[in-house]
Amino acid sequence: MLLTVTGVVHVIRGAPLDAVIFLGVAAALIVTELVRPAPVTSPQQLPNRPLLVLAGSVVFGVAVGWTQFGVFSETMLIVVGVLALLAVWRQGDANPPESPPVRWGALAWVALALAGCGWEVVSFVHEVNVDDVSIGHPTLSDIVEPLLSQQYVRWIVLTAWIAAGYGLVRVGRRAAG
C-alpha cells in the first residue's frame, strides 16, 4: 500500500522512473504475497563482522564513488539494489507472526520520521524552481547534491550508504528467521 502511494506521488511530481520502480516492486510484491511460497524457516544469516563490512564498504565507496557517476557506477548501484531485494524477498513472514509488544519509546522514532518527511514535503511544496537556491525553501536534494559533487564527500556518503544497506539486509534476514 505504502509503495503504491509512493509510486503515485512520484507520478504527481513528474518522476516517471521512480514511479515505475515503486509501482513495479509493489506489483511484484502483491503477486508474491498472492502466490505465497513456503517461507524459508532458517535463512542463512549474514556474518556480523564490523571491520570486514567497513573494509568492504570503503572499497565499494572508493571504486564506485571516486569519480563522477557514469555507466559503471550506475550499473553497480542497480546490481546492489537487486541483490539486496532478492536477499530479503525469498523469506516469508517470521514464524510465529506474533512479535513482542512495541515499547512506547518507538513512538519517538515514528515522530521523528514523520517530522522529517513533513519538513521535506513543506520544502518541496514551497521550493522556488529557479537556479538560485538562496531563495525559497531548498529540499534535501537541493542541499545534498552540491555536497555530493565533491569527491571525498561522495565516497564517504557512498561508504556509509552501502554499510547501512548491509546492516539492513542482515537485520531483515535475521527478523525473517
Partner: protein, 66 residues
Amino acid sequence: MTARDLTYAGFALIGLAALALFLLSHRKNSPIPTLTALFGRLMRKRTTRVALILAWWWIGFHFFVR
C-alpha cells in the same frame, strides 16, 4: 532569518533530534528501542522488509545517480 535559513534550521534540528534519539536508545534500560531493534521488529513481515530495503536503495539511487 530568510526562508532558506529556516529550512536549513529545520533539517538541522531533525538531524540533531535523530542523533539524540540514537544516543538515548543505547543507554541501559532505555525505553527508546535501538534502530536495530526497531527495524528487526518492522522487518518480521516480508512486505515491510522489502519496502524498507527499497527505500534505502532508492535514497542512494536518487542522490548518487540522478
